[in-house]
């Protein structure tokens, strides 16, 4: 599995992580080595025939018992980097 610098740039863009030029080559090699190692699952899975992932079942509870509005607002918003009143503040996107 060969990973190229442009793959690293693409992944960093998808993950919204700025990566310096000097780090790109290090990441490229690390990803290549790790992917080469973990690729053994492909062979194992192939030997197993047509394997199925585990059974799925619903783990969600009913949407009920809501708390009173506003009781956590200040605790949570006090952690925001920027706010306007009871709203998070971000740069305009349009």
């Amino acid at each position: 599995m060969s990973i190229e610098l442009k793959d690293v740039e693409h992944l960093a863009g998808l993950a919204r992580i700025a990566v310096s030029d000097s780090e790109k080559e290090v990441l490229r090699k690390d990803l290549e080595d790790i992917l080469a190692y973990v690729s053994q699952v492909k062979e194992v899975a192939a030997e197993m025939g047509s394997p199925e992932a585990g059974e799925l079942h619903n783990v969600m509870r009913e949407d009920e018992g809501a708390h009173e509005g506003g009781v956590f607002t200040e605790d949570i918003l006090s952690q925001a980097p920027a706010r306007e009143g009871n709203r998070l503040s971000v740069k305009k996107i349009l």
Binding site: D7, V8, L11, A12, L14, A15, R16, I17, A18, V19, E23, L27, D30, L31, D33, I34, L35, Y37, V38, S39, Q40, V41, K42, V44, A45, M48, P51, E52, A53, G54, V59, M60, R61, F72, D75, I76, S78, Q79, A80, P81, A82, L88, V90, K91, K92, I93
Partner: protein, 477 residues
């Protein structure tokens, strides 16, 4: 007061019989914690320990004490305590204050335990040495040039240095058991779903589990009994009645010999492991060789599933709602810079790896196949447990390594998890217990043995663990 070798059990008896006050115990622990600051085990020692001690003393005086009342514990820095900074040892959350208590925090608080402080860890629990912490490495109390293991290295080191009587960590691929092994203490990774994950910072949600560090198996059991149980705030928490299966007394130990003799395992570790098995035979256990070839694929499965979950779990850290914020020219640049600067190198690497294995065109080849092999591993393990009561392996392939030795080679670091990772992949419980030492360059380095049990089989681990401890009396460090 000398708190070296003081167990939770003994401390409890002294507190109840009024031979010692909670404040005396807390002061003794605080003094050790201050005296061992150079280990960098604690990121913060809380300023309200004495006030907490008063609350606990009142519980004892009023006859409301539990086994954990007045017991000073260390908390890994990814477990929420309302109002306290909880940073996951990341620049991203350096100043973040928890807005609620974790499930395990609530249980310990209600039991009257005392939170001494928050302990250093690998950033967002990603690492096996605490070297990825944004706040410096923790040193191993047995040799200051070596790592304490990780990711819960601070908790293990604090306990080993007697700067707490017990500690909590989290274990996604070995992050409790491996540092327990490196620091010479007991570490338990409970059955997935038996201890609430509410209020633990998620790394890989399908694998994460909180658990105790303790000086003895009995102490680990005391902490586990306090923190276990169903929590409606965690949708993967099991109903209590599912955990009530009676396993009886363990008698047969299975050893996956081929797997244990994998490449890269220190011959001294193997020799010690054989001796440990012999000791268990003398205690009346039958040791049986078993073949579990899928165990060897655990690490590959892990390094696909874990980064996949990491990449989605850590997407919430965007520099907008909480945590580190770096300003760019527009919102996209805000995201890119906040995440690029806030996350350390190992975290960035795993997010990119996870993004890769989940991306269109590769999802089936990696994530899909890894999930399939995970199912196979679970089935093979369930089959093995028809013949044996527990499975034994060394906890780690080597004793504690030198600070810096593996930090530039991620794959070498990942291989240190080879024996612990399959346990998380299968969701079963496992315990690491000190099993002797090796001498290297004048230092006495602890080793650990790992016992693995079927789902909800913690009682089997405690029974076998206590028997094993009896064989180790001459080996106590």
């Amino acid at each position: 007061m000398d708190i070296k070798n003081l167990t939770i059990k003994e401390a409890h008896e002294m507190l109840i019989s009024k031979k010692m006050s909670v404040l005396e115990l807390a002061e003794a622990v605080l003094k050790v914690a201050e005296d061992t600051r150079d280990l960098n085990a604690y990121l913060e020692i809380f300023d309200d320990v004495r006030a907490q001690a008063e609350v606990a003393q009142k519980m004892i005086d009023e006859g409301r004490a539990t086994m954990m009342t007045g017991i000073p514990v260390a908390m890994k820095d990814n477990i929420l305590i309302k109002g306290r900074i909880v940073s996951a040892s990341s620049k991203m959350l350096e100043n973040y204050r928890a807005t609620y208590d974790a499930g395990v925090t609530k249980k310990l608080r209600e039991a009257g335990a005392i939170f001494v402080g928050r302990t250093n860890m690998d950033e967002f629990a990603m690492g096996g040495s605490t070297e990825t912490s944004a706040f410096g490495v923790t040193k191993n109390p047995h040799d200051l040039t070596r790592v304490p293991g990780g990711s819960s290295g601070g908790s293990a080191a604090a306990l080993a240095a007697n700067a707490a009587l017990g500690a909590l960590g989290t274990d996604t691929g070995g992050s409790i058991r491996q540092p327990a092994s490196f620091c010479g203490v007991v570490g338990l990774k409970p059955t997935y779903g038996s201890v609430s994950r509410s209020g633990l910072m998620a790394m890989a949600s399908s694998l994460d589990q909180a658990g105790p560090f303790a000086k003895t198996v009995e102490d680990a059991e005391i902490i586990f009994d306090c923190i276990k149980g169903h929590d409606p705030m965690d949708s993967t928490s099991y109903p209590d009645d599912m955990a009530r299966k009676d396993f009886g007394k363990p008698r047969v130990i299975g050893v996956p010999t081929e797997f244990v003799h994998a490449k890269g395992v220190d011959p001294r570790v193997l020799k010690n492991f054989e001796e440990s098995l012999e000791a268990m035979k003398k205690e009346g256990y039958e040791v049986k060789e078993i073949s579990l070839p899928t165990l060897a694929h655990g690490l590959s499965v892990y390094y696909i599933l874990m980064p996949a979950e990491v990449s989605s779990n850590l997407a919430r850290l965007d520099g907008v709602r909480y945590g580190y914020h770096a300003d760019g020219a527009n919102l996209l640049e805000d995201y890119m810079k906040s995440r690029g600067e806030g996350f350390g190198r190992e975290v960035r690497r795993r997010i990119l790896l996870g993004t890769y294995v989940l991306s269109s065109g590769y999802y089936d080849a990696y994530y899909g196949r890894a999930r399939a092999v995970q199912e196979k591993l679970k089935q093979d393990l369930a089959l093995a447990f028809k013949d044996v009561d527990i499975i034994a392996t060394p906890t780690a392939p080597t004793p504690a390594f030198k600070i810096g030795e593996k930090s530039s080679d991620p794959l070498a670091m990942y291989l240190a998890d080879i024996f612990t990772v399959p346990v998380n992949i299968a969701g079963v419980p496992a315990i690491s217990i000190p099993c002797g030492i090796v001498e290297e360059e004048g230092s006495k380095l602890p080793l650990g043995i790992q016992f693995i049990a079927p789902h909800f089989g913690e009682s089997v681990l405690f029974a076998a663990g206590k028997d094993f401890e009896k064989t180790q009396k001459s080996n106590i460090i």
